[in-house]
């Protein structure tokens, strides 16, 4: 194609889905044939005249979003492209091979470059501007240093533009003002225009006049300046209802400009005539190009004109590139030309010349001599090669391209395979590798839509059943339907395909277990499919393929294709089915369904092997939702199946009901953290964050915001009902919204931001994108859900190993848990009077910021406090306890318990049950038969402390009824036990009892200590405690756990001794652990056998080996203490902690043994 007038795409609407949304900016070659998209992984050069051809990919990985790419507009440098890479500008010469295409690196800025502008007349000059507030002019003949530099010093620069008329003038936009520089004037600005109220996004000089300038800004205005008239006030202002990203002159017509919103504004491009306008007005577009679903990133004009033309008869096409990943070509309606006062064929204005560019594409990789010598094979000897003389160069260059694409993928594909499969593209030897390939030509093709349907929204599902619209769609359909086909060359524009496959054609009788290799070349005529326009098939001769058989195949293929084409249907699919060994029904009228039908036996026999897989897969999927496909990560599915088949582990059931893998999950941990894992799927809208031109500063902002966010996260306590939003995302959003900030908000240097790998990783995760496949919508159309997830999987496989495809995150959601770990550290259950314990706990809760819990504890303490002690001495006589009040005790306790049960706060429940249990114990302890004693006890105010001291020893007392401290008959003897270090001696204190008002109190005493048991079943109380205990254990608080459990075991033993249950049928029997896989399992842990000290030494040692410290539950080896009675073991250190620091008297195992009384054996 040498003339733009041969272009098939110029007058047609075209939509190109360029998934892989790492691409951020676009530029167009001056001849209008190629478009270049630039992004974090390099440049894509797309031939707009042959969109089906795979784009050329020039790899260049950067951390940073590419802010701008510019194709040189000069005829003498047609292959030069400049793109930004953070603070550097890369000058590409794409006439050179891709691996060596970078001609210069312009390094002069210290911060990210935001804009590049070629000099309008001088091909070697260009200007760049940057966040560092500098504007640099470069001469590419001396690329080491800039030739000029200008700086605003304060505000980073967003745009730089050379004047079209006066080549010495440069304008640059800095924050909300514009500076005009003159190359001859050095660092002093010519003018400074305070143009806008917010950041300026775009400026554009007039093509015709020297002083005409358009500026647009975030303040939602577009301003038109005539600088000779006034630098203060624009002569015309348009108010829009969106921030404006670009306002640029339209290359045709008279005083027409295109306005592109930054966001909002219906994602359209507005064309406005401003000729003769003045003052202020709102946006009144003459024409709107509407259709993108996401904000447009750039709009450009593609033009063509006949060579050596003396009249202005250019034609135009609008090219837009949007965040919705569509590259669209919009034809210009001729009415629009007229409307804009552009008459085709009008004489050129004096002095104006239309430049005739070479109409060539730079998409094909340029060839090198080395490659030429290796791969060209020529037609001859009855075999056919793929290249014929003239064609050789191009194909050849394609394959070198291909090698480059794939070599990065550890893929052996390339011409080294030697079989002549050396050429083309994208799809490779193995379907799974195909999925792995970064670039998939089939997917590329499937993203292209031409003609009227191009701009229709892609409602994927309906597409599937529909007939393909053109050869490109057909190829991509077939390619996705038959993963076993290898497309060695796809050239939709020339209608040439080379496909290789394995088919059952060793002899004319098909044997489905004996497959041979076939390579087929198909040439499609221009008007395919229509009557007479049948494709031509050629089958390569191989030694496996019988000549007779080959002729038969060709004959059949001809029949099939003629049948289909004559009724206007696409024939590639039936032909491929035939080649794969399926029977094809030639009765086309019976419709698709019939066509796809399989012969039953065939399906059966085939199902396990290669060809049949396609069919069976297709069927089972449509039946039942989840795909039967095995999600296999790296290896090919064949291998997987073979493995199973040969090892015989798994005789595959006829229907594999394995559900599709879960793509993400969230699992709670005991501590209230949530582990989430995500397998990242394609982010169609990966641009959560709009990347401003100061890509770099944005990152640092993100980082800071994120840190702040996290810090907040750990300190603030949100109400439990409040919706928690992922801090990270929100902070990222805030980062993006501050995009408009000038550079001074981000003053850390780039190296410092690099320092934190993790942040970059996260940043990467958000920005790094993959080439997705539209396969999702096409492959298994009928089952939306399962196919979606299945192809997510494959999509993941297409990514490189370097990009984030899965992520595990652990979030702290402990604020949602009613049980608070921090409280557990502070809470006390023993060691004081219950009311004081309540007050203590209230304080703990208050300190930690849990007001509600603190209040509850206060309430409880009021309940437990004798009314008298808080009142005057007179009233202390009339003992009053809230516990007996109808609104107190039972009612309130019941309410509290049921409330905490409802919200599931096991911590509160257990704590209440323990603290109130002490009360219970106290009352239980009082000799119930002896009213006198009990009266005296509850009566004497001085005595209260003493009695509660007694409470402290209740558990052990109750577990060993023989040593019960209060002996029932002695009314006022209390046993002080806890402070005794040796554990054996006890001291008793005689307390004199004064009896006052005995009769009046008699009635109240029992109700004072209301029983929690009356409100809640004791079983339940024990359940609370044991659940809380296990929680404490997980939190690493074994001591607290033991204290809580004491209440359970204490109560239980006491109960048993009372009820005298001989057998332990109902006993809560804890499994003692130690499962079979532990080597010497003959020693099982049997504490009952341990009560004597005369265990022989060896046995004891062995037991010790297997034992765990009862305090910290770690295995013990030496430095241990063993209780001589219960035989429980502790580390010496733990024992010290337990007995001395915690002042405990009872075995930490909760067995109830009063170890201190029995003595230890230490080791």
């Amino acid at each position: 194609m040498t003339s733009p007038y041969a272009s098939t795409t110029f007058e047609n609407p075209l939509s190109l889905r360029v998934d892989g949304n790492f691409l951020s900016t676009m530029s167009i070659s001056p001849n209008g044939r190629d478009a270049v998209l630039a992004g974090r992984r390099g440049l894509f050069v797309i031939d707009l005249d042959d969109p089906f051809a795979a784009p050329r990919w020039l790899h260049h990985e950067t951390q940073w979003e590419v802010a701008d790419v510019q194709w040189s507009p000069h005829k003498w440098k047609p292959s030069w492209i400049v793109s930004t890479s953070n603070q550097k500008a890369m000058v590409w010469n794409i006439a050179r091979p891709s691996h060596d295409a970078i001609e210069h690196v312009l390094h002069g800025h210290t911060r990210a470059i935001t804009d590049i502008n070629f000099h309008p007349t001088h091909p070697e000059l260009l200007a760049t501007c940057s966040v560092d507030s500098f504007v640099l002019a470069w001469d590419l003949r001396t690329p080491k240093a800039p030739t000029h530099q200008w700086a605003d010093w304060r505000a980073g620069s967003a745009q730089v533009k050379w004047n079209y008329q006066n080549s010495n003038i440069v304008a640059s936009a800095h924050d909300s003002h514009i500076m005009i520089w003159d190359v001859r004037k050095g660092a002093l600005p010519l003018k400074r225009i305070n143009a806008h109220d917010a950041r300026i996004n775009g400026i554009d000089w007039s093509r015709e006049t020297e002083d005409g300038l358009i500026s647009c800004s975030n303040d939602m205005t577009v301003k038109f300046w005539s600088l000779n008239t006034s630098c203060e006030v624009p002569y015309y202002t348009i108010h829009t209802d969106f921030p404006v990203a670009r306002a640029r002159h339209v290359p045709f017509g008279d005083q027409v400009c295109g306005i592109m919103p930054l966001r909002g504004g219906d994602n359209s491009v507005y064309i406005v005539k401003y000729g003769g306008k003045s003052g202020v007005s709102s946006l009144e577009p003459s024409h709107v190009f509407k259709g993108h679903t996401e904000p447009i990133k750039d709009f450009l004009w593609r033009s063509r004109h006949p060579k050596e033309s003396h009249v202005d008869d250019r034609e135009f096409q609008l090219v837009t590139w949007s965040q919705d990943c569509d590259l669209r070509l919009w034809p210009i309606p001729s009415s629009l030309y007229k409307d804009f006062n552009y008459t085709k064929g009008a004489p050129l204005s004096p002095g104006k010349v239309l430049v005739d560019y070479d109409y060539r594409s730079y998409r094909p990789e340029p060839s090198t001599p080395y490659e030429d010598s290796i791969i060209i094979r020529h037609r001859g000897n009855g075999r056919w090669g793929y290249f014929g003389g003239a064609n050789g160069h191009r194909s050849n260059s394609k394959s070198s391209h291909n090698r480059k694409l794939i070599s990065g993928l550890k893929n052996n594909f390339g011409w080294n395979s030697g079989s002549g499969s050396s050429h083309f593209l994208g799809t490779s030897e193995n379907p799974n590798i195909q999925q792995n390939a970064q670039f998939n030509h089939l997917n590329w093709i499937s993203g292209i839509r031409i003609g009227q349907s191009a701009f229709l929204p892609t409602t994927s599902e309906s597409e599937v059943s529909a007939q393909p619209q053109n050869l490109g769609e057909e190829v991509s359909d077939v390619g996705h339907k038959f993963p076993k086909l290898r497309f060695e060359r796809i050239s939709v524009s020339t209608g040439n395909l080379v496909i290789s496959l394995n088919g059952p054609w060793r002899s004319t009788t098909r044997d489905l277990d004996d497959l041979i290799f076939l390579r087929v070349e198909i040439d499609f005529p221009q008007d395919y499919p229509s009557e007479g326009a049948t494709p031509k098939f050629r089958i390569e001769e191989t030694h496996d393929l019988d000549e007779e058989c080959r002729q038969e195949l060709l004959q059949h293929l001809k029949e099939i294709s003629e049948t289909y084409c004559n009724s206007g249907k696409f024939c590639l699919e039936p032909c491929m089915r035939y080649l794969l060994g399926e029977n094809v029904n030639l009765n086309v009228s019976e419709g698709e369904e019939e066509l796809l039908k399989f012969e039953d036996e065939k399906e059966k026999s085939v199902s396990a092997d290669q060809t049949g897989k396609i069919g069976s897969e297709h069927q089972s999927i449509s039946e039942d939702g989840p795909s039967s496909d095995i999600p296999i990560s790296d290896e090919s599915s064949e291998e997987e199946e073979d493995e199973f088949a040969t090892s015989g582990i798994l005789t595959k059931p006829s229907f594999d009901s394995t559900p599709v893998p879960k793509n993400c999950g969230a699992i709670w941990t005991p501590s209230g953290h949530l582990i989430c894992f995500f397998n990242l799927k394609e982010e169609k809208k990966a641009h959560l964050i709009k990347f401003g031109q100061q890509g770099f500063s944005l990152v640092t902002e993100d980082k800071n915001a994120e840190k702040d966010g996290n810090a907040d996260d750990s300190h603030t306590i949100m109400p439990t009902t409040g919706t928690y939003h992922d801090q990270k995302t929100s902070s990222v959003f805030s980062g993006s919204s501050s995009e408009d900030d000038s550079s001074d908000s981000s003053d850390s240097s780039s190296s410092s931001s690099l320092a934190n790998d993790l942040d970059i990783l996260q940043y990467d995760r958000l920005y790094r994108m993959k080439i997705p496949d539209r396969l999702r919508n096409r492959k298994h159309g009928s089952s939306h859900i399962s196919t979606g997830s299945y192809t997510k999987h494959t999509a993941n496989d297409t990514t490189t190993s370097s990009s984030a495809k899965n992520v595990i995150e652990i979030y702290d959601f402990s604020r949602l848990m009613p049980a608070k770990m921090d409280l557990a550290f502070g809470y006390r259950v023993v060691g004081d009077t219950p009311e004081n314990l309540c007050l203590d706990n209230a304080e703990v809760a208050e300190l930690a910021g849990y007001q509600e819990i603190a209040t509850c504890w206060r309430l409880l303490s009021i309940l437990l406090t004798e009314g008298g002690s808080n009142l005057t001495t007179e009233s202390s006589d009339s003992k009053f306890f809230w516990g007996i009040h109808p609104f107190g005790g039972l009612w309130l306790i019941r309410k509290i318990v049921s409330y905490y049960e409802k919200i599931g706060d096991i911590q509160m429940l257990a704590m209440i049950s323990c603290i109130l249990n002490e009360e219970e114990n106290e009352s239980r302890l009082l000799p119930s038969g002896d009213t006198e004693g009990s009266n005296s006890h509850s009566d004497s105010a001085t005595n209260v402390i003493t009695t509660t001291e007694t409470v402290q020893i209740i558990p052990e007392a109750s577990s060993f009824p023989s040593s019960l401290a209060v002996d029932g008959s002695g009314s006022s003897t209390s046993n002080f036990d806890r402070a005794v270090p040796s554990g054996t001696s006890t001291s008793t204190v005689q307390i004199e009892v004064k009896m006052r008002n005995q009769p009046s109190l008699e009635a109240t005493h029992d109700t004072r200590c209301f029983k929690l048991k009356d409100v809640v079943y004791e079983d339940k109380l024990m359940l609370y405690r044991s659940e809380y205990a296990s929680l404490l254990f997980m939190w690493g608080l074994p001591a607290s756990r033991t204290k809580i459990l004491k209440f359970n075991y204490g109560g239980r033993v006491e109960k048993q001794s009372k009820v005298k249950i001989g057998s332990s049928t109902n006993e809560y029997h804890e499994h003692m652990g130690q499962v079979g896989w532990i080597e010497d399992n003959e020693i099982s842990y049997m504490p009952s056998k341990w009560h004597t000290l005369d265990v022989n030494q060896e046995r004891r040692m062995r037991l010790i080996e297997k034992k765990k410290c009862q305090y910290c539950l770690m295995t013990v080896s030496r430095m241990i203490t063993i209780c001589s009675h219960c035989g429980h073991v502790m580390h010496a250190e733990c024992a010290m902690q337990w007995w001395e620091k915690e002042h405990m008297t009872e075995c930490p195992s909760g067995c109830g043994c009063n170890c201190l009384e029995h003595g230890f054996c230490t080791d």
Binding site: D634, T658, G672, C676, G904
Partner: protein, 292 residues
């Protein structure tokens, strides 16, 4: 917050922290299991376990009293038990009674001993008991005609701690509760909960046992159902409640109850995790969200 990117080459299917929250185990389509040590915001890969011949679906840590023991199940139909001793991970046992992919595994509450429930796409469930003498006792029963996708244990009730129950969800769209029958020495179906219209993908039985049993089931019909029953009343029936009245935007993959406080985490096909809690009126409301 800990973030681990690209822990595996393939899709990640499960990630679980051990009892103490110190070790993170992840498994993937790449047939490996990885063990990370997590400390605060730091993490460190300590081991990669290889042994499965297919994608590894799920992991489960045993109670620490059995040692550092991890179970894993895979598409290859096998369940492997891994144990760490003195820093060395070993595969100490294998359980391969299933004919197809084993989709879920779950250790029983530690009170029952070392019991592992496995559910498989061959329609069968199995409970394998690792006894103190090194033997394995296995109970296998058919639970679904097509395949069982998930199963988990009921929390032990104190008064009849010996009574073991499990709940399973499968391809027949039902949630089934099974009780261990000591006479028959197998699990017998006790309840059949109907409500979903597509495959049940996950079931979770809340281990907080206060007044009610809570079972959550997630399904491909884009719903999550909460099944509740009074603990005290043995004759009570299971009550069905949709977690949210409208459907979720995408299929629901997974449900998980928090250890305390009954907060339910639901993850779905839209790569979003939502957290739900019952308010005092008994309605479920969303209390949090995590987005990919």
């Amino acid at each position: 917050m800990v973030t681990i990117s690209n822990a595996h080459e393939g899709l990640i299917h499960d990630a679980v922290l051990d009892y103490y929250g110190k070790r993170l185990a992840t498994c993937s389509s790449d047939k490996t299991i990885k063990i990370f040590e997590v400390d605060g915001d730091d993490y460190k890969l300590v081991e990669t376990l290889k042994g499965h011949e297919g994608p590894v679906w799920q992991l489960s840590w045993a109670h620490p009293k059995f040692g550092v023991v991890l179970a894993s199940c895979s598409y290859d139909g096998k369940v492997l038990i891994w144990k760490e001793e003195k820093g060395i991970w070993k595969n100490i046992a294998e359980h391969s009674v299933h004919q197809a992919s084993v989709n879920s595994i779950s250790w029983a509450p530690s009170e029952y001993g070392a019991l592992l429930l496995c559910t498989s796409s061959d329609g069968q469930c199995s409970v394998v008991e690792f006894e103190a003498d090194g033997n394995q006792k296995t109970v296998v029963w058919r639970a679904d005609a097509v395949g069982v996708n998930a199963g988990t244990w009921a929390p032990p009730q104190r008064d009849n701690a010996k009574e073991k129950r499990v709940v399973t969800g499968g391809c027949d769209n039902l949630v089934k509760i099974w009780r261990f029958d000591t006479q028959k020495n197998t699990y017998v179906q006790e309840e059949e909960l109907k409500g979903h219209t597509d495959w049940v993908r996950d079931v979770a039985w809340s281990q907080c046992l206060l007044s009610k049993f809570y079972i959550a089931s997630a399904s491909q019909d884009r719903t999550v159902i909460i099944w509740t029953k009074d603990v005290a009343n043995a004759n009570a029936t299971w009550r069905k409640q949709l977690l949210r009245s409208d459907k979720f935007p995408d299929v629901c993959w997974r449900v998980s109850w928090s250890m305390s406080g009954n907060v339910l985490a639901v993850s779905g096909g839209d790569n979003k995790v939502t957290l739900w809690k019952e308010n005092l009126n008994g309605d479920w409301e969303q209390v949090g969200e995590v987005d990919q």
